[in-house]
Every structure is written in C-alpha cells, then in structure tokens.
Amino acid sequence: MTRVLHAEWTKLRTTGGPAWLFGAVVLLTAAIGAAAAAATRCPAGLTCPVDPVKLSLTGVQAGQAVVAVLGVLVVSAEYSTRMIQVTLAAVPGRSAVLGAKAACVAGLALLAGALGIAASVLAGRLILPGHGFAAARGFPVLSLSDSLVLRAAAGSVLYLGLIALLSTGIAALIRDSAVAIGVTLGLVYLFPVVTALISNATWQRRLERYTPMAGLNIQATTGLRSLPISPWAGLGVLAAWAAAALLAGGLALRLRDA
C-alpha cells in the first residue's frame, strides 16, 4: 500500500495540474473570505445579524469547487489518457488504487484548506474589528484559541477533505471529468439554492439536514440552538455521502473493465 501511495503521490506531484489547483484552492478560499469580510460593515447603533467566523470562512464555498476539480481529475485524467490501464496493470488491487488516490487527494485538499482557512481567519481578524465587529459590541476578535473558532476553522479544513473524497468517488463512478464535476458541483451547490427558494419548512429542514450542505454547519459559531443539525453531526452527514460515493466508485472500478 505504501508503494501504491508513493506512486499516486508521484503522479500528483509531477503533473502540472494539481500544483495549479492546490494554489487555486488556497488563493480562492482566502480571497473570497477576505472579500466577504471587507465588504461587510456593521454601522454603529445597529445590531448586526452576522456570524463573523462564518463570514470570514465564506471562501470555502468557492474553494470547494477547486477541491472538487482536484478530486475528479486524479481519477478522470487517467481515463482520458488511457493511463488507467497502465495503473491497473501495475497494481491489480483496484481498491488499493482508489484508496491511494483518495488519500493523496484528500491530503492535498487538507493541506491547501489549512493554508487557505488560516489566511481567511487572519484576514477576518485583521479586517472585521475595523468594520464595526468590535469586541465592545459583542464580536470578539477571531482567534484560534477560541474553541468555537477552532472548531469552525478545523472543521472547514475537514469539510474540504471530505469534498475531495466525495468527488474522487464520483469520478471513479462516472469516469468522464466534465460529467463527474457537474454531478459533484450539483450535489454541493444545488441543494442550498433550492433550500433558499422553496417555502416548505419541512422540506427545507430535510434538505439542510441530509444533503452535503449539512457539512457547512461546522462553520457556525452563533445561533447554535437554531442550527438544522449540530456542527459535527452535519460534518458526519457529508462524511456519509463521501463514503457512499467512494464505495460506489470502488465497486464500479472493481466490476467494470477499465
């Protein structure tokens, strides 16, 4: 398994795409988070219904799209170049191949996520107090020593890792990169949009609790009582989706010809 991991890591390291995507995850996560913080102000005299931690971590919404590309390409790129046949000839244990790919891409996503999210928290810490989100008004300065902030930040990193696993599984199932990325982004973006647009509270709650969007509850630090699902349980729902995708992808890889 170590050798398979090493082989997959070498592929990732030596092709140009993943490096670019890694940079894009860091940059996009940090930039969108900082932009959201920079564009939000809390004028004096108003109570602002804003969760400053969640606001600073807005970039995860964009960063996850690039993480999904990373997860899809690590599988789909081999199919488009027929490299997959060489890979599977070299390592007949197909589950090991998918496991190694998933581990590499998840590791990369965790690392990129950690960098991007650290930068986001730093940006929020520097920007928000000057925009009315000051300690005097009940908005403590963002700090990773605050257990809620730490949970939100570390959870967001894990969230990105799980998105990488989800997209890898979907790519193993679908093979074609365009369709796989379309399905992944659909799973990630479609449910929150539909939830925002429908007016039936029961269905809203169902979608908020049981679709991949539940994972982002990990970012909440205010209004914890009114969350549709508790932060860690929400991340667990996303983990279940990722596990199901990997399982389905692994089965497809075993059962189908490459």
Binding site: T58, A68, S177, A178
Partner: protein, 537 residues
C-alpha cells in the same frame, strides 16, 4: 465523433463560410448522443426540481373563531385587479360624492395620526382585538382621491400626505410621484389639489395655500363623466423586520390612520354636495388586518379614519395574503444550468482531448468562425432546451402553487413572454460562456467548474450565505445578475415588504441584469477569440 464527414462536406477549407462551419458544428453536436441526451437531461432536471420546489409551499392562515383550521385556497381573500391587469390592494375609508364633468377639489390637511398593533396581541383583553400603539406606519395615507367608481380595483388618481414619505401623488396603484417632503402637522399643514380635465388628472401641492406646484399628471383611460371624488384615509399593516443570521423574524399587525382635513372646496364644474362615508374593501380580506374606519364632520373640519392600502399587491409579509409569482416555479433552472454548462464545455474541450481541434482548424483556418459557430450551436440548443423547460416549469408549477393556496400575482402576456424567453436566453448565454471558458481553459473539469462558479455560486452566496448589503452587490456585478430577467413583479418602493433575491426581487431591473450577464459572456468570448488565434491548438 462522426464529424469528419461533416468537415469534408463543407468543402475547401479556405472557402468555408460561417454557414458551412455552423453546419459542421451542428452535425458534430447532434451526432454525439451523450451531448443530445445531456441537453434533454438539463431540461428534465429543470422541470423536476422546479415542480418539486413550487409544490412545496405549505400555507396556513390560522382559523376563524369557532371554525376549523384554514389552509390552502380557503385563506385567499377577494383580490381586486387594477386597470393595468395587476393584482392590487384597494381598501380604505372614502368620504365621497359623485362629481360630474371637469373640475377640481382642494383641501388643507392639518394632521395625520395613527395607531398600530405590533402583532403581540396578548396584551389586549380577549375578544377586543389586538392592542394598538399610537404611531404611524411609513406608508399611512390620507388625502384626496378621484376614482372611476367605488368598485375595488377601479382607476384613480390621488394626492396624499403619508406617514414618512411626505406628500405623494399616486395613480392606478403603481404610479407614485413625490411631492413636498416632511411630515404634516397643524403647525405645518399641506394643501392638496386634484384637477380633472377629461381623462387627465393633475395633482398639485402647496405649503401655504397660495403658491402651488404641479406634482404630476395622470392619464386615466376611459374615466367616466361622473366620478367619485373626496377624502380618504388608509394605512397598510405594520411590519417590523428583524434580520438574524440566515433569516429574518417578522412582526406584523393591523394599523389605522386618521387624517384631519379642513377648507374642503370644489371648483370648476363641481357644485358642493353632501359628503357620504363608505368603507371600500376592508372586511372581505380574510387575513388582511384592516381595521375599518369612519369619518366625523364638525364645523369646517372633516376627520377620516381608515385602514388597508391602495397599492399594488406584492409577495412577502407585506402582501397581506399568501402570494407567489410565476418565476417561483423556475427554481430548477439551476439544475438545468449545471447540466447545460457541462455539455457546452465538452463541446469544445472534447476536441482538444481527442486532437480533433487540429482537424477542425485545418478545415476552417479562420479560427474565429469556429468559435462563433460553436457558440451559436451550443447557445441555440441550450436556448431551445431552456425555453421548453421554463414553459413546462411554469405550466406545471403554477397549478401546484395554486393548489397549495398561493395566489399567483398576475402579469401581462408580454411580461410572461419576457420571463420565458429571458430565462431561455440566460441558459443559452450560460452555454456560450461555457464554450468560451472551454476554449480558454481547454480542460473539461476546469471549464465546467469555472462556468458553475461564475454563474451559480454568486447566486447561492447572495441568497443563502452573505448579508443583504453585499448580496445585492454580488447580484449587480457577477454573471448571476442575469437571473433578474426572471423577475415578473417590479420592486414597488411605495409598498413595505421584504424585497430579497430569494423572494425573487433583484437589485437590478430585468434587462439591466441580463445585460451584465451579456457583458461577461462577451468578455469571455473575446478572450477566447484572442487566445484561440494566438495559441497553438
């Protein structure tokens, strides 16, 4: 790929005109089964998600005393239709007399006061209605009005003082022109005048009764010779919106306004007759918190008290009854957009992956033509899929919304056509954008992601993640501004309700938002064109 035959058919490379290139690209598109299926899937997904979303409104409106719980259609009051075909609110207290021919009515307003319930009705003794606090809602209105008849929804023009928007001239429910600013009081009275001449009614205001200024002129088509004219007062429901993260809590309650008038005079052909009071609308709106009203005449002073509103009907908590719009059935367009973007990006990127692009460019050395042909083919196919999907969504979704007890705010055929064609054009533009991004990035996954991130993600951030202020900027500046083309009911600043993108209200007017999407698409195509010419294939 079975494109080779098509390319050969298009004749000598240099002579291939745009039509031949178009035909070649169309042949490529239709002969790849996955792409055709992808476009059909896009339409089906749009319809499925749209119909699911539109059928899931659960409407209840409390219960009548000693009666069963009311839900669905039973909640809907009688909703009048205004002269422009739009649903309107038309309930107020009217102190009127019939006025024949041309003439004018002048009045001095010396006061406007009111009271409202904040919705916390526990404070009141049982059976006595909600407790009322003194105060005016922003759009409480009292003034003079000339109305075609006492029928709800009939044409009118009115001059009025308002709670916090100064003097206004309003006509036919949607018209609203500002006059003198500031609040009215005994120390600072306002003189108002309406002059009728045929079909036109002019409104004037004055702060001293001597110097008059024209506020506006309304044309009321087909105004009968004898109209109902006089004094009115009305007051829409009190609304307090307290936003919190991810939503808003809304308090609402009934309100009432009282206007104090003196020096009522009729000029021109209008002889002074007797005033008679009449409540217009009011009790027939089951859940609209109208409080009724009345009037008192003492000495030269007339005091009119009324509740309700004379304004266009809107969605949201300010609407007074559960209502929706046709575009609320189009939520599925996001599912369709993702599928369309996947197909359109593949239409370009597959050629790069297979190396077919070199053959294509050898057959048509004018590379701009290839890009244009691909954009036209993908855009047109997506347009057709989007049109079919949006028409189906509304056709299937609107009856489902009605069955749940939602009143669908009526719109003109022209507006409906704009919503359908605009939505289809938006889907088409998204396909063109994906073609451009595919040509720039050359990789399917990157192109699809870029297209989804610039079109769908900003909308998601605006409706579900970001605070209102920046959300509106996101919907002005990003390609997601294009969703404004779906908005069928305009923003009426003279009605207080929750105006949000999730509720179908965009910060830009429909065509302006669509223009922003067009500009982004044009910029991406331009970049793709330059890169296609400069880079090796």
């Amino acid at each position: 790929m079975t494109a080779r035959t098509a390319v050969r058919r298009s004749g000598p490379a240099a002579a291939a005109g745009l039509v031949a290139v178009l035909r070649a690209e169309w042949t490529k598109f239709r002969s790849v089964r996955g792409w055709v299926i992808g476009m059909i899937v896009a339409a089906i997904l749009t319809v499925l998600v749209g119909v699911f979303a539109s059928g899931n409104a659960s409407i209840g409106c409390g219960s009548r005393p000693n009666g069963p719980q009311l839900t669905g259609k039973a909640c809907l009051p009688y909703i009048p239709i205004g002269p422009g075909g739009e649903a309107v609110s038309d309930s107020f207290y009217f102190v009127r007399q019939p006025l024949a021919g041309n003439g004018s009515v002048t009045v001095r307003v010396t006061g406007l006061s009111g009271r409202y319930s904040d919705g916390n009705s526990q404070a009141s003794a049982a059976g006595q209605g909600p407790a009322m606090t003194p105060g005016l809602v922003p759009w409480a209105k009292a003034g003079i009005i000339i109305k075609a008849s006492t029928r709800q929804g009939s044409a009118y023009a009115a001059m009025m003082v308002t709670g916090s928007h100064g003097v206004r001239m309003q006509d036919n429910y949607t018209g609203d022109i500002a006059g003198l600013p500031g609040a009215v009081s005994a120390a600072s009275p306002r003189w108002l005048r309406l002059t009728r001449s045929g079909d036109t009614v002019s409104g004037y205001d004055s702060a001293d009764g001597r110097h008059w200024a024209l506020v506006g002129t309304a044309t009321l088509a087909g105004l009968p010779v004898t109209v109902q004219g006089g004094l009115f007062a009305t007051s829409p429901q009190y609304l307090k919106i307290q936003p919190f993260f991810g939503g808003a809590s809304i308090q609402s309650g009934a309100s009432q306004a009282t206007g104090i008038f003196d020096d009522v005079s009729l000029h021109g052909g209008w002889p002074a007759g007797r005033w008679a009071g009449l409540a217009i609308g009011g009790g027939n709106r089951a859940d609209y918190p109208a409080q009724g009203g009345g009037y008192r005449q003492a000495g030269g002073q007339i005091t009119v008290t009324g509740s309700g509103d004379i304004a266009p009907a809107v969605t949201g908590p300010g609407g007074g009854f559960p209502s929706s719009t046709i575009e609320q059935s189009l939520a599925g367009i996001f599912a369709g957009l993702i599928a369309v973007v996947v197909v359109a990006a593949m239409f370009v990127t597959t050629e790069y992956r297979r190396g077919l692009i070199r053959l294509t460019l050898a057959a048509t050395p004018r590379r701009g033509r290839v890009l244009a042909a691909k954009a036209i083919v993908a855009g047109a196919v997506a347009f057709v899929a989007g049109l079919a999907a949006s028409v189906l969504c509304v056709t299937l979704g609107v009856p489902r919304q009605r069955a749940e007890g939602l009143y669908i705010l009526p719109v003109s055929g022209l507006t409906e056509a704009r919503v359908f064609l605009g939505t289809a054009a938006m889907v088409g533009l998204a396909a063109v954008l994906a073609v451009a991004l595919g040509s720039i990035l050359r990789r399917s996954a990157a192109a699809v992601t870029a297209a989804v991130v610039v079109v769908v993600l900003p909308f998601l951030l605006a409706v579900a993640v970001l605070p209102d202020g920046i959300a509106n900027w996101v919907l002005r500046l990003t390609p997601a501004a294009g969703f404004a083309i779906e908005q069928s009911i305009p923003h009426y600043s003279q009605v207080s309700t929750v105006y949000s993108a999730a509720g179908g209200q965009y910060p830009l007017p429909p065509w302006a938002g669509f223009g922003v999407l067009c500009a982004w698409t044009a910029a991406a195509l331009g970049l793709a064109f330059v890169l296609l010419r400069r880079r090796d294939a």
